[in-house]
């Protein structure tokens, strides 16, 4: 390999860089001027332009969002690794640590749902195991347009199969998730995948290139022409031409991923490597440039040494390929043979493709010719930073005071219709396609508030969830942002676990629109405030902007993935009623807030009103009550009230888990509580900070005392009824009654019934 310091030359046959070519690479005039300045006025080669285009895309540079993200609370005694690495890492007891991260794969899924979703899972798994953590759980948040449109059914079915096939093959259980259907996602579905891994704290490894003279090696799959410019594609609005981007969608190979996972963990534990990073978005370009910048060194890559799938690939293509299941490793020259031996054991190749240099430059050589030479650090952090205008639109303000034109539905019918709404309905059709029990550590599997896995051979576990009520965020980004974190924390606490920290996936529209950027800034402020109040720092995540199609922007969707610690895993609390005769209590305050509710949106066609305000202190107290009640073995079930309010929560507790053979009845009486609240407000209002619990009758007093200690009321509502019984809600002289058997059938059949319609397998 030559260490040529000469001026880069165009690769033979490469197009000259003209104004049109610059525009094609989505670099604006200001950015191009900055590039020229970095290159001392020299016109970049096409390879250089491609490298800048990838690293200065929104996806890699965070150029519109960095100043906002800097305001997140990121510190805490539990933080072992905060934002800026492949994944965040939090301390657990007994020397263990949990690595976790969420990431979007929205645009690829919009044009090729199966591969788009599958490679989203692959990428997030690699982010976790490059930290030295063994992945132990997957979660996902999926959003599509309504299921009455065959295109949406096709996207939904394809994405679910993609998620399932990838995770199932690698052998990581999927333990939770959410699926939402709303018109705003019709042109722009969302696939957010989260992975959770475990490591010994002392085995944490970071992606920092160090040691001048050390070598860079690629490990894993060969580099092909797939996914070129994926990072840039992810940073533009979807349009009628997006279909032509299909070849830019990567193709996943979960079998190679499994081998790469085992080889990477073995490499990390063997001490033979200095650093390792996934070649994710922007492939070899971002992995090498980011590792060099973190380590404060230069790198020189020889693209002609990179193993390729086809002959004749140009340095431009090799640098920008997003072929999956590849890793970049930094190691001392003396370790190369040991590394090759480990990789060979897993049937993988390791190839030297470059070295660490002392001149701080990012240099690419192909067949002995320098084709790119760029100052390394500004390449990674020199992109102009924008703070776009943020202004709430008049339409958004008007939305907050909108109310439905009628509000006189029969509660009996309303509950049945809500349970039939695909967003609220059972997602069994979805998670039945995901292996939830592989590894033999799953304590709580999907279908409840949060998933729980036991931490290897210890007595403790980790709980995990992903949440986002995008309707609430749309209506009031600040309160909605707070609500997202509060709901995630309630879900974690319902299992008995204490919330530890979050990762976020911020899905928004085009940030250059003031109304979109307003949503972004305010939602992030809400998330930050809630994280501060709960002591659950932000450990990293991902920003996905330009989720905008010809039909408009998506609802602002800042998905939060949270993990919590369950100190005694045998004390895990499920979501559903378990025992006839148990007492049913409602913890938290009911004000009958219908603004932003699923009741209005799903049944009355009204997305309007202010969403429920979130009292962070009360939420924190509620979490404490739940954690202590679980530890004291007071609870038989705990279920968060969210979409559809009390009526839906009660129905879900009666309906039981996805594999239950029988439902439970329940009789509750709403008299003497929140008397000023309307019937519909009681049944379907979505006041934040409420949880429905059941317990043995002898624990009622202890539970009420515990709640009072933390400033909460635990209101006795009634009793769990017999198997296959009725759900009866009474209020004064009024009485509503449903067959739980019928409610279960509605809840379970809502999605399969729609998916049985023709069209899911089309295209």
């Amino acid at each position: 390999m030559t260490s040529a310091a000469s001026t880069p030359r165009a690769f033979p046959g490469e197009r000259p860089v003209t104004e049109a070519v610059v525009r094609e690479h989505k670099l604006n005039a200001r950015e191009y001027e900055a590039i020229l300045a970095l290159l001392d006025g020299r016109t970049p080669t096409l390879t250089e332009l491609g490298i800048f285009s990838a690293l200065w895309s929104e996806h890699c540079s965070y150029k519109h969002t960095k100043p906002v993200l800097r305001r997140f609370p990121v510190e805490g005694p539990q933080v072992l690794q905060g934002p800026g690495e492949n994944a965040g890492v939090l301390r657990l007891p007994e020397g263990w640590a949990v690595a976790f991260k969420i990431e979007s794969h929205n645009h690829p899924t919009a044009v090729e749902p199966y591969q788009g979703a599958a490679t989203g899972v692959g990428g997030i798994l690699r982010d976790v195991f490059t930290m030295g953590a063994r992945p132990v759980a997957l979660l996902n948040s999926l959003r599509f347009g309504p299921l009455d449109d065959p295109r949406n059914r096709y996207l939904f079915a394809g994405a679910v199969k993609g998620v399932g096939d990838y995770g199932n093959c690698v052998g990581v259980p999927t333990l939770g998730g959410e699926v939402v259907f709303a018109p705003g996602y019709a042109g722009n579905p969302l696939v957010n995948a989260m992975a959770v891994g475990l490591l010994r704290a002392e085995e944490l490894i970071t992606a920092r290139a160090q040691g001048v003279g050390n070598l860079l090696l690629t490990v894993g799959a060969r580099t092909g022409r797939d996914g070129i410019h994926g990072a840039s594609f992810a940073s533009e609005d979807l349009s009628a031409e997006s279909e032509a981007r299909r070849p830019q969608v990567q193709v996943g190979d979960p079998f190679t991923e499994k081998l790469l996972l085992e080889a990477s963990l073995e490499l990390i534990r063997s001490g033979t490597i200095v650093a390792i990073q996934d070649m994710g978005a922007a492939g070899l370009t971002s992995s090498s440039a980011e590792m060099a910048a973190r380590g404060g060194v230069g790198v020189e890559l020889d693209t002609s040494a990179v193993p390729t799938r086809e002959a004749g690939m140009t340095p431009y293509e090799i640098m920008l390929s997003e072929s999956q299941e590849r890793m970049l490793v930094v190691a001392e020259p003396a370790q190369v043979e040991a590394i090759r031996a480990i990789c060979q054991r897993w049937d993988l190749d390791a190839t030297v493709v470059g070295r660490v240099t002392d001149d701080g430059r990012y240099r690419i050589i192909h067949d002995g010719v320098v084709v790119a030479s760029i100052p390394g650090r500004p390449l990674v952090d020199g992109c102009p930073i924008y703070e776009p205008e943020a202004r709430e639109s008049a339409e958004a303000v008007a939305r907050r005071s909108r109310t439905p034109s009628r509000d006189d539905l029969d509660p009996l019918e309303a509950l049945e219709r809500l349970l039939d709404a695909p967003t609220i309905a059972s997602k069994r059709w979805v998670f039945e396609q995901y292996d939830g029990t592989v590894r033999g550590r799953s304590v709580l599997t999907p279908g409840g508030d949060a998933g729980v896995v036991r931490v290897e051979d210890t007595g403790f576990g980790i709980a995990m969830t992903v949440d986002c009520n995008a309707r609430h965020v749309l209506l009031d980004p600040y309160e909605g942002g707070k609500g997202v974190v509060a709901e995630a924390a309630r879900n974690i606490a319902c299992t008995g676990a204490r919330p530890l920290g979050i990762t976020d996936c911020l899905n928004f529209g085009n940030p250059e629109r003031p109304e979109v950027f307003h949503q972004f800034v305010e939602a992030c402020r809400g998330i930050g405030d809630a994280c501060l109040a709960f002591g659950t720092p932000v450990t990293g995540g991902n920003v996905s902007l330009y989720n905008q199609s010809p039909t408009g922007a998506i609802d602002p969707t800042p998905t939060v993935g949270m993990v919590g610690l369950l100190e005694d895993v045998t004390a895990a609390v499920g979501s559903h009623f378990t025992t006839e005769g148990d007492a049913i209590l409602l913890i938290g305050r009911t004000a009958g807030h219908l603004g932003g509710s699923a009741y209005w949106a799903e049944l009355l066609d009204c997305v309007g009103g202010p969403p429920p305000p979130v009292d962070l202190e009360a939420e924190r107290g509620l979490q404490e009550v739940l954690v202590r009640a679980a530890a004291g073995r007071l609870l038989r079930s705990a279920h968060d009230l969210s979409d559809g309010g009390l009526a839906v929560a009660l129905a879900e507790c009666c309906i039981g888990g996805p594999w239950a053979n029988a439902t439970f009845g329940a009789t509750v009486d709403l008299a003497r509580h929140a008397d000023a609240v309307s019937d519909l407000g009681w049944l379907f209002g979505e006041d934040a900070g409420r949880v429905l619990v059941s317990c043995a009758p002898e624990h009622v007093a202890a539970l009420q005392a515990l709640a009072a200690e933390h400033g909460h009321g635990a209101h006795y509502l009634g009793l769990v009824g017999p198997a296959e019984g009725e759900l009866i809600i009474r209020r004064d002289e009024r009485r509503w009654q449903w067959s739980t058997r019928r409610l279960r059938a509605i809840h379970l059949e809502a999605i399969p019934r729609r998916m049985a319609a023709p069209g899911a397998a089309e295209e």
């Binding site: 052998g171 029990t437 033999g440 594999w659 053979n661 379970l748």
Partner: protein
């Protein structure tokens, strides 16, 4: 004398750790064995674990049957040694013709992961000896290719020779099909005539530990090592 168990790891196996643990918990001396091995190293029982050997890319189990270790597995089976295939391992055993029939894509064309109720149809095998005949147990299963098929004559022979080990049975009150994949005659697992080679789709190793709510799966491993279970026969 402790029983020695070898759990084979093919490229793409992903249930080997929990299978190894279940065997050890039952009192066996259990070790992983690489697919390139040419001998079983003195193991009494070989387990082919679940997973996606070679990515299941051609057809599940179709490539793994050619792995070097399979010659030793075949010799072991023919000499009367214990061989258990779980899920992907069952698929490999069928592909290798150590068991009859084949496992095709589920009738619903989708991966199905959920608990199933299976009846223990035969207790004179290497891994069901501690069950009460006819016992019904609920254990997890998770597969995309678990539909057992064979020609009618083979199916009749399996029934006649008492080679059906596990059969899916209806679950009272459940709204789900009791047979998750459409397999012939509700077959979830079979054995060779002698009962020393067994394959089935469900995953007992995933329900073999108290913190997960049930230990019924452990009975298969306890049977394997010939040790008594912690409680009464299931």
């Amino acid at each position: 004398m402790t029983i020695r168990v070898a759990v084979i790891r093919f490229p793409g196996s992903n249930c080997e750790s929990e299978t190894l643990e279940a065997a050890r918990r039952a009192g066996a001396t259990a070790e992983l064995l690489d697919y390139r091995a040419t001998s079983l190293g003195g193991a009494d029982v070989v387990i082919l674990p679940g997973g996606f050997s070679y990515g299941d890319y051609l057809r599940s189990g179709a490539i793994a049957r050619f792995a070097p270790v399979m010659q030793a597995v075949r010799a072991h089976a023919e000499a009367g040694g214990g061989v258990l295939g779980i899920c992907n391992g069952f698929q490999v055993l069928c592909e290798a013709h150590l068991l009859p029939g084949a496992l095709l894509h589920n009738a619903g064309q989708r991966f199905v992961a959920r608990p199933v109720d299976v009846r223990i149809e035969r207790t004179s095998t290497i891994c069901t000896g501690l069950f009460r005949p006819g016992a019904v147990v609920r254990i997890p299963q998770a597969h995309g290719e678990g539909r057992f098929v064979a020609d009618e004559a083979t199916l009749d022979a399996l029934e006649r020779d008492n080679q059906v080990v596990l059969r899916y049975v209806p679950v009272p009150g459940s709204d789900l099909p009791h047979n998750p994949n459409g397999s012939a005659r509700d077959i979830a697992g079979i054995c060779n005539p002698a009962g020393n080679v067994v394959g089935f789709m469900p995953h007992p190793e995933r329900l073999a530990e108290a913190t997960l709510g049930d230990t019924i799966g452990q009975t298969f491993f306890a049977s394997l090592v010939g040790a008594p279970t912690s409680g009464a026969p299931a």
